[in-house]
């Protein structure tokens, strides 16, 4: 079960409180009535389904009820970051590496000597 940080509540909560809401950063065209079939297809139907980092929306449905965005690694299910709706896509290379919190035995060997 995932542990998800809600950027509005500023707390890590269990996945049970959340609902996934699909890909993030897909804006509904303001002139939607006038767009071409191809543009509509791209907006409504086409998704990447990446192996690796995905930017996706979550809703804290059993909490503050807000929609927010997250960057999650679809392989490890690790959340790289979560941020409020409307904020720009974060530069993940600039983020502190959460991977640093994962220790390996190699990291421990020195301490054990």
């Amino acid at each position: 079960m995932l542990l998800i940080y809600c950027p509005y509540c500023e707390e890590e909560r269990s996945e049970l409180e959340f609902r996934n809401a699909g890909d993030a950063h897909i804006a509904r065209p303001t002139n939607i009535a006038d767009i071409s079939d191809e543009e509509f297809e791209a907006y409504f139907f086409l998704r990447d389904n990446p192996k690796g980092v995905i930017f996706e929306r979550w809703r804290h449905i059993h909490g503050c009820s807000r929609f927010f965005n997250a960057a999650r690694d679809t392989v490890s299910d690790r959340f790289l970051t979560t941020y409020k709706a409307g904020e720009p896509k974060p530069d993940l290379d600039a983020q502190p590496k959460t991977a640093a919190t994962v220790e390996t035995y190699e990291a421990l060997e020195g301490a054990a000597q």
Binding site: M1, R19, A33, F44, R59, V102, Y105, L108, A111, A112
Partner: protein
């Protein structure tokens, strides 16, 4: 005396504390603290079951959770009977009944043993090849036969009378396994001030110290140190020690599932205690101290009762005080088994021989064996065994030599070395790496915040294990934020350094294809089966596993996986890492459905939502139907009426007099704010800014793809306030849909959404006398047609309480929907009923509601639509604004597929024979004589007997339906073909005058 094999002065149980139990009807005496396995062996019983496929006699192989053979049926009483219990894990309690499984008529003489003689026909994969022809025999012959033969135990037939508990908890450091490593790590983490949970599957802490008699920790005998340390930890406020608790699953983000067995070992059970407790632990750091599991040797007939793992033999002797035999042989590839011989010899048990397939065992154990006068045959292998229901002798031959020497034994302890338990590490999605020098898979790349220590990490030396554990405990505590001071130092010493180990088939497994050298005892998989799988073209370890079923039994191959892998690698001519390991999955050992289902049983399985009038409806004898989680009154049968008669009466009564209907389950959303009308303009196809306060409108909601998502009546109470209703089942998703657009696409709009479904009780009063019924109860609202016409809403009072009164109708009759605060629902209902009943009105349920709306052609979203219908398909083009620049779905509606001709459209259907009622879901065709597959035009969505029309009525989606009015189509059924005429959807009061009555 608690069994002939109990050795006075040996073991840690108290001789005076006995418990009696039965095994296959025979009463036996055990000691408190015995497992079923140790108690049976104490009573000289090794034969405990028959194997799955060949029905071969089987005994107890291990002394722990890895046991593949000794699966028994254990019961406390008729309802508390559990099949497939591992005898090596289940503790004996006074009065327990134990039975063997998979044998008939008796354990000693089993008819199924015939299978063993037929085994040439039962080679691996025979299921896939044998039961192919003729096809028809599958249902009548093969499947019933396989089903009867499949499975070991017999499932209990009575409901489980026990209850189970569930806890969620958080901790800094979760330590799994309370052997030397786990205890030391927990101690270091606890002394640093971390909140620690330490769990272990056994009844006491200690792990391998249960049997490893020569170990000293902190200068004390290992087991004694473990008990002292366990107690000291349990006494600390920041530590929880859970014994009899298995960590069965490692899930995402350090979420670990534990199951604690609370009462299964007790003779007298306190009924207030749960049988098991499920712990769902979220740990900042997890320390895995899972230890290692000993492997058996793979040689011919290695499955006879009396053959067991060397460490198990030591456990039974050193912990339970039980000798596994009177003349014990040892067959090993690893030094650790020598210590079993030493322990037995010291306890006065004859050791026949130590057969070691290695040329050069460890010098220290060899020297000790010589000193104790035990014969050691190095470079030899056991090539066969004899003994019908228990091992009687072993045949030993020089490796590569001819001629075997027969040695009489009544037990044989075997060891091929140790497999590190990387199960939880692997479940955490960590990647294992193969250590070629020691031929074992060890934790490699970590995926989660955990550390492996001790033997599960490949650390063999005791002092190294302790140092590693102390460092890991402190590191984990610090990383989790603990700031306590005390550092821990401990010393540890083994009696002997161990070397050796092998994987795969030993000499005695033979190269030929008839020898039964078992790898997987529970599924009767032999070395030859793996070779056969490779010969037949299975080259992936996953394919070999499935073809042979190696490792697929309930023990999940804890003993067999490495052997199977090595034999496959050899047959494939590849290295072990290239062949690869199958994936470890949760659960580590089987867990009960009771623990998983837990409280979610019976009425707690799924919450039932009940309306404020539910009690009244129940008292009136209503039948209920489930709509989502709601319990809705379905119909109100009078004495002697069936459903059909009750619904026909209710339908007539509503149209002739009036009816009262509980509509409280309708979803309700309060939409408030200066931009509320603008928001609804975007969410619905209709226009809302021109709706005046005090008026209502039927609205259709689409998704952006243009398909109908929901519908409902929306009332405007004020310029900035709307009362939105949704379908009963749609309320949560409609609110989610609205919130989604409001928060993420239209955040500039000043609008607030609030679910008010449960705040309002809704009483629909419908029929010619509806106004007369409610008028005297209403204050402050003029109910006349002029002041309060169809599709009006007003706030006032009814029966002295506030109401939002709607003039609307889902029946086609003059109608009102009385919304009152939920707490007043039943009182207002009863007041309305007190007026309605004397006038001859009735209460009606959802079935009548469905028929009445169908008579008027009103659709139900989700019944007449299915997520692929546009408003135009549903005949609702009038409700789609052509002037609005935008609404959700506006672009989707213009998609080429949605505007093309021939789409399925909603129409009415009238059967040529008015008495025939169509089946909902039935398919519709144009030509009933067309050969199959026929061209299907659509299907029936709603179909009823209409007492008001005096005939059947139906709605259907039909390709190009609106252009087919008047056409005759056909509904082919299994027994006949029904002719129907396509009609419009209004079957009753086509002019609609009754609405305005």
């Amino acid at each position: 005396m608690s069994g002939v094999n109990r050795i006075s002065g040996a073991g840690r149980l108290t001789p005076a504390r006995t418990a009696r139990f039965t095994f296959d009807g025979r009463t036996l005496t055990a000691l408190e603290g015995d497992t079923v396995a140790s108690a049976l062996i104490a009573n000289d019983i090794h034969l405990v079951g028959r194997s799955f496929k060949y029905h071969r006699p089987r005994g107890i192989l291990s002394a722990g959770a890895e046991e593949p053979n000794a699966l028994l049926d254990v019961s406390r009483d008729a309802a508390r009977r559990q099949p497939n219990v591992r005898a090596t894990v289940q503790e004996v309690f006074d009065g327990m009944k134990v039975s063997s499984q998979n044998r008939w008529p008796s354990l000693a003489f089993d008819v199924g043993g015939f299978n063993d003689l037929l085994s040439p026909f039962f080679a691996a994969g025979f299921y896939y090849k044998t039961f192919m022809w003729p096809k028809a025999a599958w249902h009548s012959l093969y499947e019933p036969f396989i089903r009867r033969a499949a499975g070991l135990g017999v499932a209990p037939t009575e409901p489980d009378p026990d209850h189970y508990a569930s806890r969620y908890t958080h901790c800094d450091v979760l330590v799994v396994g309370a052997g030397v490593a786990g205890l030391a790590a927990a101690l270091a983490a606890a002394k640093a001030g971390a909140k620690v949970i330490l769990c272990d599957e056994q009844p006491e802490v200690g792990g391998a110290l249960h049997y490893d008699s020569g170990t000293l920790v902190d200068g004390k005998p290992g087991y004694a140190w473990a008990q002292e340390t366990g107690k000291a930890l349990a006494d600390m406020d920041n530590v929880t020690v859970l014994t009899r608790t298995t960590a069965f699953g490692y899930y995402n983000h350090n979420f670990v599932g534990l199951v604690e067995r609370v009462t299964d070992h007790l003779a007298a059970v306190d009924k207030t205690l749960p049988r098991e407790r499920l712990w769902q632990v979220r740990a900042k750091k997890v320390i895995l101290a899972n230890g290692a599991i000993e492997r058996h040797m793979v040689f011919a007939n290695n499955d006879r009762p009396g053959i067991m793992l060397a460490s198990a033999g030591r456990t039974y002797l050193n912990h339970f005080g039980v000798a596994v035999g009177k003349k014990v042989g040892i067959y090993t590839a690893h030094d650790s088994a020598y210590e079993a011989a030493f322990d037995l010899k010291k306890a006065g048990v004859a050791v026949a021989v130590i057969v070691d397939c290695r040329e050069q065992p460890g010098e220290a154990v060899l020297e000790k064996a010589r000193h104790l006068g035990i014969e050691v045959l190095t470079g030899h292998s056991v090539v066969n065994t004899t003994g019908k229901l228990r091992i009687a002798s072993i045949s030993v031959a020089r490796n590569g030599g001819r001629g075997a020497r027969k040695i009489a034994v009544d037990a044989l302890l075997v060891s091929a070395g140790w497999t590190p338990s990387v199960h939880l590490f692997s479940q955490s999605r960590g990647k294992v790496k193969f250590d070629a020098a020691t031929e074992r898979f060890l934790p490699g790349t970590y995926a989660q915040d955990c550390l492996s220590i001790g033997t599960c990490n490949g650390t063999d030396d005791l002092q190294a294990t302790i140092d590693e554990a102390l460092a890991a405990g402190e590191l984990a505590a610090r990383a989790a934020g603990a700031e306590g001071g005390a550092q821990v130092a401990l010393t540890g010493q083994n009696a002997f350094e161990w070397t050796g180990g092998m994987i795969g088939a030993a000499e005695g497994a033979g190269p030929d294809t008839t020898v039964k050298a078992f790898i997987d005892f529970q599924h009767d998989v032999c070395a030859k089966d793996i070779r056969l799988a490779v010969r037949e073209g299975m080259h992936s370890v996953e394919h070999i596993k499935r073809f042979t079923t190696n490792g697929m039994a309930s023990d999940q191959g804890k003993l067999s996986n490495m052997h199977g892998l090595a034999i496959a690698a050899e047959a494939l001519g590849k290295g072990i890492p290239e062949v690869g390991l199958t994936t470890f999955r949760q659960p580590y050992t089987p867990i009960t459905f009771g623990a998983i289902v837990n409280h979610s049983r019976g009425s707690l399985f799924d919450p039932a939502r009940k309306t404020p009038m539910h009690a009244w409806e129940e008292a009136q004898g209503a039948e209920f139907e489930d709509v989502g989680n709601w319990k809705r009154a379905w119909f109100y049968p009078k004495a002697g009426e069936d459903m059909h008669e009750a619904v026909a009466r209710e339908c007539k009564t509503v149209r002739e007099v009036a009816g009262v209907f509980d509509a409280s389950t309708l979803g309700k959303i309060e939409v408030v704010g200066p931009d509320a009308a603008q928001f609804l303009n975007l969410m619905y196809t209709n226009a809302w800014d021109n709706l005046k306060p005090g008026r209502c409108r039927y609205g259709i909601m689409l998704r952006d793809d243009g398909f109908v998502y929901d519908d409902g009546v929306v009332g405007r109470l004020a310029e900035d306030r709307f009362h939105v209703t949704t379908t009963t089942g749609g309320a949560p998703r409609v609110l989610h849909h609205m919130e989604d657009y409001l928060q993420t696409e239209f955040p500039h709009l000043k609008v607030w959404l609030t679910s008010t479904t449960e705040q309002w009780a809704v009483i629909a009063v419908q029929g010619p006398k509806a106004r007369e019924i409610i008028a005297p109860l209403v204050e402050g609202i003029d109910l006349s047609n002029e002041a309060f016409p169809h599709m009006s809403v007003a706030e006032g009072r009814i029966c002295g309480v506030p109401t939002r009164l709607f003039r609307m109708s889902f029946t086609g009759e003059l109608g009102f929907e009385v919304n009152v605060p939920a707490d007043f629902g039943q009182a207002v209902w009863e007041a309305i009923w007190a007026r309605a009943e004397p006038m001859g009105a009735c209460a009606y349920g959802t079935e009548t509601m469905h028929v009445l709306r169908a008579e008027k052609g009103y659709i139900i979203v989700g019944q007449d639509t299915d997520g692929t219908l546009t408003p135009h398909d549903a005949g609702l083009s009038w409700a789609v604004s052509k002037k609005k620049p935008d609404f959700v779905g506006i672009r989707g509606l213009k998609r080429p597929d949605l505007v093309k001709d021939g789409r399925k459209q909603l129409v009415g259907l009238l059967t040529k024979d008015p008495k025939v009622v169509l089946e909902e879901g039935a398919q519709i065709v144009a030509d009933p004589n067309e050969p199959k597959p026929m061209t299907m035009l659509g299907h029936v969505t709603s179909s009823y007997w209409s007492s008001n029309c005096g005939r059947s009525i139906a709605m259907a989606v039909v390709a190009g339906g609106q252009a087919r009015l008047g056409q005759t189509l056909y509904v082919p059924m299994a027994d006949r073909t029904i002719a129907v005429e396509v009609s419009d959807m209004v079957f009753f009061d086509k002019e609609g005058g009754r609405l305005h009555g």
